[in-house]
Point group: C2
Chain length 665, copies 2
């Protein structure tokens, strides 16, 4: 390879990025120009991928954690032959293009995860590395390394300042994820100016403290880059961080090393100067030298070859290990094993009251017996979240095929790691914490929804029912805040039976995250009568109880631990001659997806007398309570006391519901 | 001091904690027992405080970041003479007590900040240290060290696993906050078991990488504790971490070093065994040996003496520096200088359109000229958030009296640091980021609300109006999610004039946080007519425009950048003979606080034809739209394109509002 061609290719990346940002009059040209050399080395000399099949299972994963440098990635995708046309590059950041401001998973071929919110890509990569380790240890056999690749990322100072990088890097070091190779684009520039303004820690020492291998190099030196990546590849027991000293807007005569180049176009004049400095052969915008394109496009041929080779390997694997091969394919196609629902626990009104978190634990355990790629854990609350699979060992160094993960007290890291696992594929990841701490992982939950990743979040201790731990641990606004996220299905089951159904929904669901919201305290098993079908939960809301089908005086609508209170109240009201319908509404968004006719059958619009009962804030409930309805809720923070006392003090009693009902009748 | 008395005192702490947890049948006995020795050494040999005046300004601050060990703190408060009676200890975790499950700021004398959600206390302490440095450099004079103390904390493995500890520790090291001395309760036990399950990083090397001084000791050795704390005190240019190897439930024959002791009572039998092991003189529950109590209570006399001495110092200071002394008192009483509002910018319909973030920047700058304790910055988005005070320098090592803070890309750390600054007092702290990244700092926002701290959050780029950066950066559900937090005032001004008022509200407000939600894009200055008073914003919503006072066909309700669209629509509707009222509703919670009469005058209940317009999700708006209303909102994620295009595509145009209005008339 001639050095001249290397430089031509690198400059092609730089100019494509600078010109696309210029044309959009919006974007971040500095990062792609500064990181072009390392991206070029990685993509042309190391990355194992097939541009014509971006979903080939054994590809290396590449993550641009510094997502604002999206044009770097779009340039690479176009140049190496992915289905990203030059017209799309020219349409950067425009309505309907597949080249949005930040890389979006599911939209553009070759994008492994949505990045932009800093630190997320870093943690997603750790999740991918975990999924890889799990699947590799489970399926690889001597001479059959089905899963055998690296997780690469380019990360920025912003990623490393974010707390989530600490959480996920510490865990990656602990787990000895040697399949991780991250290049740190150390350009010393942040939006406010020099990183010296706020970021003077020793990244080197910090990552060594986590157990990473750390190398420092000149990020513009092709040979150093090659050598360090090779060293990183060989170090199979430690994740690697290559600290590459780079220069923002490298190649731009006037914007080199300037914070101005971070988030603004360079200007037409400056682009001319760059072309002059590069001795660029053609002034035409978006000109790509033929020689450079030809070199980049070698990826197509090589990619098809390596995939073909792998396909042959897989066929040989299938002959030798037919059952494993079948399971492998089932995992990646998210096909659930036959009969997986046959052993689900069932609960009846004869059973003792049980907390939905406990019912969840039982259900998870029976499902996990059958569904062997259900893998997860808790952010150090497993005994409380009931997230342990009892028959499994701990996922840890050299026991990567075990399924009980210990995330540590790292909710945010856990969330983004789960996202990375789901994006990798082959596994059904879940993670638990207290509902109140969903706040700690909210950016990850949002991204799971945006990426439509089927992640299962288990949030226990879902109200003041948590009791003595007090207001710091009692969620109040969290149900509302989660329900407001587009595409997130929030399920708050009313009893053990609904909990089983919620799990079935979550495991069968392939698009978008599901949050299971569960009680600490015991709840009775509700009598749903014979007319309620077993899979009613997927409708989001249903009529649980109504003594007389014809007459309807008042509607009681509730979720979770408040449903049984409504049932009690309804029975008292019946004795007073009031005919009451109790509606259990475990999942608002699923209910909204039902046909108008069904919704009307559950909540008839002419019935204006309604009481909504939920041990959370009222925010969002007026839609169902209506103008004349009453909402029994908590619109303040909770308090520290035993749960029964709190339920009484805050008005969550059958008696209070009865009184409110009588007052509006 | 006899070693015997030391041990008696330490054992008194341990037993009080264990017995209170036992009586409550709920709580965490292990941590207080393991950390009792270091707490004892710190509180009796170092801590400068006056139990009879917990708000004495020059006290050392003590934070129990491991808030689940609250009984350790309550024991110390009771024993050293704070107004926390033994009955309160006996009422641990009960309704109405001042000894809730986790320490709560504002509820219990001597509690400096609310802890429990892990990592928060750690970061709050960094905020306190920053406030101290600012005030010390501003007010201290040679021989007059008015502000001269330490920020102590006990932190746990959980605190150090959380990302926020990384963010705030890195910043503390960068700023060289030598006033910080944290004791790390390194007991090697977390809820799931040994910390070896998930947490094997070298904390020592990690904190050295941040620029901290790190010492390692035996946490049960009184002499080592004394020596290391003394060394830490002397190191004035580096924050200190003392890694103290401790043992959970130290002193409990059967629960020593056991994860079981983390969150469950030890059992009556075990407490008997502990008493036996301690050779305890009296079996009576909550027995406190007189000798121990006497020793602890010396804090009362010493505390009164040191405060008296300081008061004399302050009187001498006042004679010598009367102006400074006045300013000092104003700062701590949050008295605003006379005439601070006189120079506020004013905007009229003649002015060019201006983004509310830009109007915010102008307003902040004029206020900061007068209000000299307004201090803050941004999480590396100052040029976009307009949070810089132009006449000020950077807050940094040896320039601690400057007011422009650089938090780095550390939103969560920023939030909790602001909380710590507000809890310290003397300053009015603010911090900015994009609205979408409020998710990163949500636990801190919640705690500001729970503690009722007057922190100002500046959230810019508040909708799809952000444009090309795309859905990762476009808030959709964030307004709803923030409005759901009890006690948080969310203000989304409609134009520059409302922005000025919003700032006035935020600066005058003494209780609870305020979030200012601001546009990226320019907005016209609205014609509010002469009948709308200047301070109308504090009512939360008001009638902005209505051509005919008597007749009212339809209500248009909007916030922020959608208000001017409603005004345009109303004018078009007027021409069609439809009499429309436009209501600007910048702050829902302030509106809810108004008398029924005012609310009815703005939103008359008999007017059912209503359209709500907000470039965010509809969640929460049905309360105002009513059963028959229409909501123009975004109930999906955004997209990457120029802002004007997005507003058109998503239906945020006067034309669409007109059409919707005509359709319901």
């Amino acid at each position: 390879m001639s050095k001249k061609l290397d430089r031509l290719c690198i400059n092609t990346i730089k100019l494509l990025a600078a010109e696309a940002v210029q044309k959009a009059n919006s974007g971040h040209p500095g990062m792609p120009m500064g990181a072009a050399t390392m991206a070029y080395v990685l993509w042309t000399k190391f990355l194992k991928h097939n541009p014509k099949n971006p979903s080939w299972l054994n590809r290396d994963r590449f993550i641009l954690s510094a997502g604002h440098g999206s044009m770097l990635l779009y340039s690479l995708l176009h140049l190496t032959g992915y289905d990203v046309s030059l017209d799309e590059i020219k349409n950067f950041r425009q309505w309907g293009s597949i080249t949005p401001g930040h890389p979006e998973y599911g939209l553009t071929p070759g994008i492994e995860t949505t990045t932009g919110p800093l630190g997320q890509g870093f943690a997603n990569g750790v999740g991918m590395a975990i999924a890889q380790k799990f699947l590799a240890q489970k399926f690889n056999r001597s001479k059959f390394k089905l899963i055998n690749h690296f997780i690469y990322a380019i990360v920025s100072d912003g990623d490393l300042m974010e707390g989530i990088s600490h959480e996920s890097a510490s865990l990656a070091g602990h787990l000895r994820l040697g399949n991780i190779i991250y290049l740190y684009d150390d350009n010393k520039i942040s939006i406010e100016g020099s990183t010296e303004l706020a970021f003077t820690e020793s990244v080197d020492k910090r990552f060594k403290a986590y157990g990473w291998q750390v190398q420092r190099i000149n990020g513009d030196d092709i040979e150093e880059l090659e050598e360090t990546i090779r060293i990183a590849q060989k170090n199979v027991f430690r994740p690697s961080l290559i600290i590459a000293r780079t220069h923002i807007a490298n190649g731009s005569p006037n914007k080199h090393d300037s914070a101005e180049a971070h988030g603004s176009p360079l200007g037409e004049g400056e682009i001319k100067l760059i072309k002059k400095a590069f001795d660029w052969p053609d002034e035409t915008p978006f000109y790509i030298p033929g020689e450079a394109l030809e070199h980049f496009r070698e990826a197509v041929k090589v990619g098809m070859e390596v995939e073909t080779e792998w396909n042959l390997l897989f066929e040989r694997y299938r002959s030798k290990f037919p059952e494993l091969a079948g399971e492998f394919e089932d995992f990646f196609s998210r096909r659930l094993p036959d009969g997986w629902k046959e052993t689900l626990p069932s609960f009846s009104t004869q059973d003792k009251p049980i907390a939905t978190r406990a019912a969840s634990g039982k259900t998870l355990n029976t499902i996990a017996e059958k569904v062997k790629n259900l893998i997860g854990g808790s952010a150090d609350l497993a005994p409380s979240n009931n997230t342990n699979i009892k028959s499994e060992g701990d996922f840890k160094f050299q026991s990567y095929s075990s399924r009980n993960m210990h995330f540590g007290v790292r909710e945010h890291g856990m969330g983004s790691i789960l996202n990375g696992m789901a994006a990798y594929g082959g596994v059904i990841p879940y993670g638990g914490t207290f509902l109140v701490f969903s706040d700690y992982m909210r950016p990850a939950i949002r991204l799971a929804a945006l990426m439509e990743l089927p992640v299962i979040f288990i949030f226990t201790h879902d109200s003041i029912g948590l009791g003595e731990d007090g207001p710091t641990h009692q969620p109040v606004e969290h149900l509302a805040a989660l329900r407001a996220i587009p595409g997130l299905t929030v399920i708050r089951p009313a009893d053990a039976a609904e909990t089983v159904e919620a799990w079935v929904y979550a495991v069968e669901n392939k698009n978008g995250p599901v949050a299971l919201v569960l009680t600490r305290q015991n709840l009775p098993i509700l009598d749903r009568g014979s007319h309620v079908p077993a899979n009613i939960l997927e409708k989001g809301a249903y009529v649980l109880w109504q003594p007389d089908e014809k007459k309807l005086d008042i509607l009681l609508i509730a979720t979770g631990s408040e449903v049984h209170l409504c049932c009690e109240a309804a029975k008292i009201l019946k004795e007073k001659g009031v005919n009451t319908r109790v509606v259990s509404m475990p999942a608002l968004n699923l209910f909204e997806k039902q046909p108008e006719e069904y919704r009307e059958s559950v909540l008839p619009s002419q019935v204006k007398r309604r009481i909504v009962v939920e041990a959370g804030c009222s925010f969002g409930w007026h839609k169902y309570a209506g103008n004349d309805g009453v909402i029994i809720s908590i619109d303040r923070f909770g308090a520290s006391a035993p749960a029964e006392i709190l339920f009484g003090k805050f008005g969550f009693t059958a008696q209070n519901i009865v009184e409110k009902a009588l007052s509006i009748l």
